[in-house]
């Protein structure tokens, strides 16, 4: 190493120790966050309703008995661009929403497969309000392990249920991702082509049933009367760990003065819903952007050089923060670099006041899961499948 390079490394190293913009080669991130308004709901990244959630972005949702002014506003609802539809804990719900029934008259109950958990509970109907946006007669899932007996088909994934505050970590999940329905055409089928999400439940027990698209649990944004083609998640940059961070959830893309695409680059998912991320010469085609993941989860210790934590299982624990750069590529050919930094999760968690962490990351072999830290300091646009936008129709991510 030449003396000149040594000086350069020292300069970069010392800049990283004090600068806000230390995230690799990028300049400090500055993003504009829309003020709360008719199409803008506030988001807070804080400890959430359990008081111990790391990197959860929460908002509130008002649910009404359809066609009435009998309403309830529920806060602590997780903003999740990685799922579709509104799910609310039965234990958090005080208004009596009507049960959705199958043509047979039996109640419809859903088993929804998340990656590391499932949710179980009846499908009910609500009028929804978020900021000034409304969706009428929206099918929502009301989470409860006890209203109906969980069928064995729902437990065959082996993962636990997340139907209580302590297991979900939120009062509900607001799924506002790329698609409108949480299942789609597959759940309209009968027989082996039906993945078994929707059940009808006579008193003799629950059996899988076909569920029409319009009856399925649906991304509420897709049913808004305006600003219904997608969302923009806007969160400020985070330095190290912070107790609480405030941002905005903007509805609509190019439909108002505050939700243009601007200079954002559009990345489309492939047929499986994934992005391709290239890191160190290898491409990983099972990658995605998901505000509902609470860190950046990528590759493994061997390919990153990052040691796994011993206490904070599922996270990385480098001795000092380490900078990375990877390249995102959409199915449409758009590509661009992403710089990020990985901190020691146990060090981050050691401050009991902090719940928003820019450097929280962990292993996820063969894939990049761009979770909430990806959203800090970057406005991320999520366009819904089939909806027209100022660019191509959805589905796409743009930032």
């Amino acid at each position: 190493m030449t003396p000149l390079r040594i000086v350069f490394v020292l300069l970069v190293g010392s800049a990283c120790a004090f600068s806000l913009g230390c995230g690799g080669s990028s300049s400090p991130k500055i993003n504009t966050i829309a003020p709360v308004g008719q199409n803008v709901a506030p988001i807070t990244v804080n400890s959430g309703p359990t008081g111990n959630y790391a990197n959860g972005a929460f908002t509130s949702v008002t649910l009404c008995v359809p066609g009435t002014s009998t309403c309830q506003t529920i806060d602590g609802v997780l903003v999740d661009t990685g799922s579709f539809g509104l799910r609310i804990l039965s234990s958090a719900l005080t208004v009596a929403l009507p049960q959705q029934n199958a043509p047979s008259g039996n109640p419809v109950v859903e088993c929804f497969p998340f990656v590391a958990s499932y949710t179980w509970g009846p499908v009910k109907t609500a009028d929804i309000e978020i900021a000034g946006e409304k969706a009428s007669s929206l099918p929502v899932q009301v989470l409860s392990d006890t209203d109906f007996t969980v069928p064995s088909g729902c437990t065959s994934s082996g993962v636990p249920s997340a139907d209580t505050l302590q297991t979900l970590g939120a009062n509900g999940i607001l799924g506002i991702g790329l698609l409108a329905q949480d299942c789609g055409g597959a759940c309209e089928q009968t027989g082996g082509a039906n993945p078994g999400l929707y059940y009808e439940c006579p008193s003799t027990g629950c059996v899988v049933t076909g569920e029409a698209l319009a009856q399925q649990v649906t991304n509420p944004v897709a049913l808004f009367s305006t600003d219904n083609n997608g969302v923009i998640v806007e969160l400020p940059a985070v330095t190290g760990g912070e107790a609480s961070v405030s941002g905005s959830l903007v509805f609509g893309i190019g439909t108002e003065s505050n939700n243009g695409l601007g200079s954002a680059a559009v990345y489309t998912p492939d047929a499986n819903g994934f992005l391709t991320v290239t890191y160190s010469g290898t491409s990983y085609n099972q990658s995605f952007i998901d505000s509902g993941s609470n860190g950046i989860f990528f590759l493994d210790s061997a390919s990153t050089g990052l040691p796994n934590c011993t206490m904070a299982v599922g996270f990385y624990c480098p001795a000092s923060p380490k900078n990375f750069s990877a390249t995102n590529q959409g199915n449409n050919g758009t590509s661009g670099p992403v710089a990020f930094s990985v901190a020691n999760a146990e060090t981050l968690f050691a401050n009991p006041a902090d719940f928003a962490f820019a450097g929280l990351a962990g292993p996820n072999p063969n894939s990049f899961d761009w979770g909430l830290p990806f959203f800090f300091g970057r406005n991320v646009i999520v366009a819904i499948d089939g909806k027209s936008t100022p660019s191509i129709p959805g589905p796409y991510w743009a930032y």
């Binding site: 590391a116 082996g158 819903g273 989860f297």
Partner: protein
């Protein structure tokens, strides 16, 4: 990759059913992982899928396209044992069927995943003799499970996908 053959379940369902009855009468379970390669047929029937078989130097991949759209790959050693399974698609496979005797330890470990902080993330399970990795988001899932001690020599975990 060497030979490639495709089988449609529709045209052979009667013959296949007869074979499976014989097999299931002699196998302790319909387990794929850790079990005999013949158990793949039970999985294929369970998933109402079609199957392709690809041979590599030290193993054979049985790829089942399930009727639900999820693709499951089962990796069989040249000795005829399933040492790994991988899947990708909109819905998780029936893990009870796919993991067989490995299902209970996996499910127990999945329930035990917790820490001082709440949060949602991919699921990684590393037990003695079993690795399970689940990733993705709603309607776009991917995962794999393997028995490290059973990997044929020269096969790396990265090859299972």
């Amino acid at each position: 990759m060497g030979k490639r053959q495709a089988e449609s379940i529709g045209s052979r369902v009667v013959a296949r059913a007869a074979v499976v009855v014989i097999l299931t009468a002699t196998l302790p379970a319909w387990a794929a992982l850790g079990g005999d390669v013949a158990s793949v047929q039970a999985d294929q029937l369970h998933m109402q899928g079609s199957r392709q078989i690809r041979a590599a130097a030290t193993y054979t991949v049985h790829e089942i396209q399930a009727a639900t759209g999820t693709v499951v790959r089962e990796y069989a050693s040249n000795e005829g044992k399933i040492f790994a399974v991988a899947w990708r698609g909109p819905w998780p496979p029936d893990m009870r069927q796919l993991l067989g005797t490995y299902f209970e330890p996996y499910a127990q470990a999945a329930k035990a995943q917790s820490g001082n902080h709440m949060g949602r993330r991919p699921l990684l399970i590393e037990l003695p003799g079993l690795t399970v990795q689940l990733s993705g988001y709603s309607r776009s899932l991917a995962g794999r499970a393997y028995v490290p001690e059973m990997l044929p020599s020269g096969v790396r975990a990265e090859d299972i996908r």
